[in-house]
Symmetry: C2
Subunit: 417 residues, 2 copies
């Protein structure tokens, strides 16, 4: 008999009917003899409603008080979910972050979990009770209510699994797993039965929205076995089917991995490119350009500096698209200071990335990728690589085409042997 942490997101608990479905699913696992700890989000729409109220009062809401307000969303869900379990004859008891003692730092609205006191949860489990824990929230050492920031309920689920040494953390969501790419763009996209933490981290950072990146880091750090699966299936599907469903995020050294070289293709249209042309190639120039951009709280992603010609070089980088205008303004204002010839930019670009741990042991992946794109007449504007990822920047009009061509070329629609 296993100890399972099940986390349900906002859509999965978005109405009393959905909460009742969650309870049926949990009851099924309990009947099979498993110990279950539940972590839940606020009902979908609730966090935005609360944030809207706060903004009617203060345009820039005080972070401490915003967390006091936001934390009520999950508090309502834990009460409702506990009631729904009791209505099915399952013993249950709700816990706020403060009641568990999910201790965090004091960075309101984006706190990090420092420790979890699992004593009460263990006592409940021993008594046959399902503890229902509010995701997304904690308490700091001084007793202030904190929240982990958007998506933080995933992190709560993983942290509970780590603290309890759970056999698996199941993240129930409105998709049924991690796909080789977005099925809305490539209908032949295939659900991955397993994916490694490294791959998942790359995909999350590249814009794949299935799991919040911090929760994946947390799971990797504490070696929590993590599964993403659907809350939209019939809650009464056989447990042996559900236990194998979705996508397992795991450690390649632990598991019989699929033998694919490439696991998935991620993409993002949320990109813009800036190039500082004709800057003197001297020490400190990168900082002179990127320092003011960072000071303005603009995230810089890919950075490329070409080899210099006659002491001058071109320096390019990408930023989130809605920071494009601001970044352009900053560069114009530092242009003279750094002695650049011109600033040019493009916000009609996209990033397409291939991710796979198999790249480590296979050469020639990058050149295959570039050849595929060239055969379709897609010009590559920037390239960036890591050990398990190759990203290219191309004109955004080619995004779907690039994804489909690569998906086909690397046989992602085929189940690996």
């Amino acid at each position: 008999m296993a100890l399972i942490v099940q986390k349900y997101g906002g859509t999965s608990v978005g109405s009393p009917e959905r909460i009742k479905a969650v309870a049926r699913r949990v009851a099924k696992w309990r009947r099979a003899g498993h110990d279950v700890v539940l972590a839940v989000s606020a009902m979908s729409g609730e966090t935005n409603r609360l944030l809207g109220l706060a903004k009617e009062i203060q345009a820039q809401p005080d972070p401490r008080e915003l967390d006091v307000i936001a934390a009520t969303g999950e508090q309502v869900t834990i009460g409702l979910a506990s009631m729904a379990l009791m209505a099915l004859g399952v013993k249950a008891r709700s816990y706020t972050g403060a009641q568990v003692r999910v201790v965090t730092d004091s960075a309101f609205t984006k706190a990090r979990i420092l420790s979890i006191d699992e004593q009460r949860l263990r006592a409940d489990l021993a008594a046959g009770i399902v503890p229902v824990v509010a995701g997304f929230q904690g308490i700091d050492e001084a007793g202030n209510i904190t929240t982990l920031g958007r998506g933080g309920s995933d992190t709560t689920g993983v942290a509970l699994a780590a603290a309890l040494g759970a056999d698996e953390c199941q993240i129930f969501t409105d998709v049924d797993g991690v796909y080789t790419t977005d099925p809305r763009i490539e209908p032949d996209a295939r659900r991955l039965r397993t994916v490694t933490f490294e791959e998942m981290l790359e995909m999350a950072s590249l814009g794949s929205k299935v799991l919040q990146i911090r929760s994946v880091e947390f799971a990797g750090k504490y070696r929590v076995r993590l599964r993403v699966l659907s809350s939209l299936t019939d809650p009464d599907i056989p447990i042996e089917v559900e236990a194998q469903s979705g996508t397992l995020i795991t450690f390649e050294e632990d598991d019989n991995m699929e033998q694919a070289i490439i696991s998935g293709i991620a993409f993002s249209r949320d990109e813009a490119k800036l190039t500082v042309m004709g800057v003197p190639d001297r020490p400190g120039i990168a900082y002179a350009i990127l320092g003011p951009v960072g000071d303005a709280n603009i995230d810089v992603d890919m950075i490329i500096q070409n080899a210099s010609v006659e002491g001058l070089t071109d320096f390019s980088f990408t930023v989130p698209r809605n920071d494009y205008a601001r970044a352009l303004g900053i560069l114009e204002s530092v242009k003279q200071h750094i002695g650049a010839r011109a600033i040019v930019g493009d916000n009609k670009i996209c990033k397409v990335s291939m991710v796979g741990v198999g790249m480590r042991s296979h050469v020639g992946i990058a050149s295959s990728m570039f050849r595929c794109l060239a055969e379709e007449g897609i010009n590559i504007q920037m390239i960036s690589t890591s050990e398990i990822k190759i990203s290219v920047v191309v004109d955004e009009k080619y995004m779907e085409l690039a994804v489909r061509v690569l998906h086909k070329a690397f046989d992602l629609d085929q189940t690996p042997a």
Copy 2:
């Protein structure tokens, strides 16, 4: 400079605009150099919304979980009110019941306050911070969230004032004080500048809805100076005007009381009368009749047993009108057991009561009251008296007439000398 606890009810914090008005009022008191502690209710409608959600899950919601859910209503308000104060440059900090440590017993949905730890609140006050405390809620010794039941925010305000030794507890509401009777029935009804705790208790128990009865008891027990006043006035009215507004509920021995004999006339249409006719006048008969009624959780109010004639007596009592049918059914089923001749009832009655500490030192009040009603042809069906109250039951069609006649006869429209 005084220490004031201000409590605002659901209507007074019913929208972001109303919460901003509360903040302006508090800011005014702060500017005048007073220390203020705020206690707030859930935004009007919110508690019912949450209760509705719970009932969609469980027809009879689990009390512990219901309190977890209900407590979020006030938690939202404390955050918003703190933000509204900060937006005006007033330092503020919110506290849930658990954060203050408002310790209660474990009677979920109707808990009683056992103690309040005022240390953090005092530290805030010393630092010029307005603590904003969630009304209606607390925490039991085991760390469970509890609520005090409907109207419990008044009790929180009074309990905070008692714990802090505040100079006054101001209960802001949507009426501007306690009246000699309901102005909707008697347009000449007059606001009382002061009223004693005993009178207030009688009026509250007789159906006057200005203050929750438990909060009045609490204030009386801990000798908290209590003022009921309006949150609908301009928040910027001069502080010396506001400080004298509303109705002060006080101890007659402490204050220069108005010299009226009668302070007010309360009434209730929520009444029904039952009479058990021709029962043997023997020990235990009252219990034989009322025991089963009490077992059915029906509140019995007035009880009258006439002198017996030939060993038989008539036994009458009143119950809330919507328990009438149930009470009648119970009596029919015990009729044979107690050997009664007949059961008769009437649910078209009302209760009219005169309340006043002056009755203690004035004789003949009751006979004046009865003569007034007789002159209007109003038949008195039952009479019940206490030291400071006379209640009569009459046909409900005479209710408004009885209230107006008595209001006039006892000069309640005149300001006492």
